[in-house]
């Protein structure tokens, strides 16, 4: 089980806030001012459980959201907070992270091949929508090359990955300076 260095240092209320903020970020909505008692209890139980396990809250929500989004149009709170989801997370996160790392590596390889192997212009490569490049990689490479206009186009998708999954921040650290992504 991986965890970010500071996740265990968070207080329960901070941990809870991290979970909820990440969830609403993925939903693309603002957190409602009022919520049901049942939902509040479930969030609290989840926060307590994950905190004791030393799980990175953002990583967990991102993983769970993506899992449920494969088959459900809307990912509800009771899906994210289910103990079964936590159990599945523990089982599958290792494979998921390996796949994420591989995907980033393959995408960076594509950028490298297109620019070095095929001598294509970097801007043209980053804007080529036929190439299999994710938002985070396009954003990070554009950022490093100083193409802010290109980077801004991919910022929203990149945020969801880079801010919530440490694997992205780690793999793209060479492209993202500490102050370039608001971290």
């Amino acid at each position: 089980m991986s965890s970010s260095p500071d996740s265990s240092a968070l207080s329960l209320s901070d941990f809870l806030r991290e979970l909820k903020n990440t969830y609403w970020m993925f939903r693309g909505l603002d957190e409602p001012e009022t919520t049901t008692r049942q939902a509040a209890d479930q969030w609290l139980k989840l926060a307590d459980d994950l905190r004791r396990r030393g799980v990175n809250p953002r990583r967990y929500v991102r993983w769970a959201y993506k899992q449920f989004r494969e088959t459900n149009a809307t990912v509800w709170v009771n899906m994210i907070t289910s103990p079964k989801t936590v159990a599945r997370f523990e089982q599958e996160i290792g494979d998921t992270l390996a796949r994420e790392r591989l995907l980033i590596q393959l995408q960076l390889d594509t950028v490298f091949f297109q620019t070095q192997g095929r001598a294509r212009n970097l801007r043209e490569v980053l804007e080529d929508e036929l190439l299999d490049l994710g938002d985070a990689v396009r954003y990070a490479v554009a950022r490093k090359a100083g193409m802010t206009d290109v980077a801004d186009r991919w910022r929203r998708g990149a945020d969801l990955d880079i801010l919530n999954e440490p694997v992205y921040a780690e793999a793209l650290s060479a492209f993202l300076s500490a102050d370039s992504h608001g971290q």
Partner: protein
């Protein structure tokens, strides 16, 4: 055969003499030759002296385990020839001259790798000759194929060589994945292909099998990895526009139903530019009208390696014509049973070929009709192959392409293998550009619209502009917020 070898065929008497010299006198090569080289591999009509000398020498070596004395060998060969009715003194003189040549050759120490190279080159030559002869002389096609395949199995020096995995005196050969450059393919296979492995792609009719093969093939060729593409369905004139579209990033409408002269100059320039980078690495073999044996594929791969171009991938597009053509000539009342037997036998041959020539094989096959008829929301299973379910079980790794929705989104499902977990994700088939792509947004199947949708248009009903994701309509579905 080592692709770095300089000798491709034994095409002169000098090389044949050198081969016989190593086979009789170099101890390590002789051990191999005793087991592998049959006297009949020498053509009795044109190489009688070689046939006779090797026949006797092999018997003597098998009996004593040592190199025979030249005079003893000469006497026995002459006696045998007399007994068989070859009494012409010029034939005897030829044998004596050959034995002298074999025994006067001096090399100390023996170059063992050169000897093995000679043996392999000899086998290559014999295989080509036998394959041609058997197809011409056999009374039935089955018989011809059987002879060809049997000869092929026999003619490989390294095939049955035992390996001590813990002997590190030579650098151990290990498997390493080689990225193809097609991200979705590399992702689902866990990082690329492993030479010596067989990969299967299952897909519904018109569902992107050929497209995937072209996409992966072009990606590899761009990276200077050689691809041998066997098209059993479409002739090159039909596949070429799709290849141009993929390689040059050109919309297929610019190329479809057009002669070369009708294509705009700017597009032709793009094609020329892309072709320059791929040329020589993506080789297409038209088998749309003929070709019914794995031996044919093996022959091409052998020739390719012999000419110094080691194929990284061999694509069979698609497998079933090969099976049905091979089965069509067999008189049988239980056709489906025979087809399955032929398929299994072919899979075995392909796996042997992949292992022997250190290349990977991509086999395209149909998804079962039951699965192909289902909606795009239903993930296919990697074992849902048509006609013979065992197809997928015989592979190292199998990928199934699901039914596409109107936008080309579909599931890609990969089987579990020793080094890779079972995985699946949604991809988009860009038919106009002959590519697959991983969508950047997470996709979900919308039952109402019967298609995959992403975050941006989640609640847009057909005919409606995008709605506010936080609308009441969504919240009434019954979940907790």
């Amino acid at each position: 055969m080592d692709s770095s070898g300089n000798i491709r065929e034994i095409n002169s008497r000098g090389l044949l003499v050198r081969l016989l010299t190593y086979a009789i006198r170099c101890p390590s090569v002789a051990r191999l030759a005793m087991q592998k080289v049959q006297p009949t591999y020498f053509d009795q009509a044109t190489q009688l002296d070689f046939f006779m000398v090797w026949f006797v020498a092999q018997q003597m070596m098998l009996k004593s385990g040592t190199t025979p004395h030249p005079q003893h060998l000469n006497d026995l060969v002459i006696n045998l020839m007399n007994g068989e009715g070859y009494t012409d003194p010029t034939l005897h003189a030829g044998v004596t001259r050959l034995i002298n040549e074999v025994y006067t050759f001096k090399e100390d120490p023996w170059n063992e790798s050169y000897g093995v190279e000679l043996l392999n080159a000899f086998f290559h030559t014999v295989f080509k000759r036998e394959a041609t002869r058997s197809t011409q002389q056999a009374t039935t096609r089955d018989e011809a194929l059987e002879i060809v395949m049997r000869t092929h199995k026999q003619l490989n020096v390294d095939q049955n060589k035992p390996v001590d995995p813990f002997d590190l005196s030579e650098t151990p050969t290990l498997s390493k994945r080689l990225p193809t450059g097609a991200t979705y393919f590399d992702l689902i296979t866990g990082g690329g292909t492993i030479p010596t492995e067989c990969y299967g792609v299952l897909g519904p009719s018109g569902g992107g099998k050929t497209l995937m093969a072209i996409d992966v093939g072009c990606s590899m060729a761009e990276r200077k990895q050689r691809v041998e593409y066997f098209s059993y369905e479409q002739p090159p004139r039909e596949v070429r526009p799709r290849m141009f579209s993929r390689a040059g990033g050109i919309h297929i409408d610019e190329l479809k139903n057009k002669e070369w002269d009708e294509i705009p100059g700017a597009v032709r320039d793009k094609i020329a530019d892309a072709s320059e980078k791929i040329k020589g690495n993506f080789i297409m073999h038209d088998r749309s009208a003929e070709g019914d044996s794995v031996a044919d594929v093996i022959g091409v791969v052998r020739d390719s390696i012999s000419s110094g171009h080691h194929p990284t991938m061999v694509v069979i597009d698609w497998l079933w014509p090969l099976v049905t053509r091979a089965t069509a000539v067999r008189s049988t009342s239980r056709r489906n049973v025979t087809e399955r037997a032929v398929l299994q036998s072919m899979m075995d041959e392909f796996k042997a070929m992949a292992s022997e020539y250190n290349t990977c094989v991509l086999l395209l096959h149909q998804l079962s009709i039951e699965m192909a008829k289902r909606r795009a929301s239903k993930k296919p299973q990697w074992f849902n192959s048509a006609e013979a379910g065992s197809f997928a079980w015989l592979l190292h790794y199998c990928i199934a392409i699901g039914t596409q929705d109107e936008q080309g989104f579909c599931y890609l499902v990969g089987s579990k293998s020793r080094s890779n977990a079972k995985t699946s994700f949604v991809v988009q088939c860009l038919g106009a550009y002959n590519k697959f792509r991983i969508p950047t947004n997470s996709m979900v199947y919308d039952d109402k619209r019967r298609e995959f949708v992403d975050d941006q248009n989640l609640n847009r009903m057909p005919g409606r502009e995008r709605s506010d994701p936080g609308s009441d309509e969504e919240d009434l579905k019954g979940g907790l917020v």
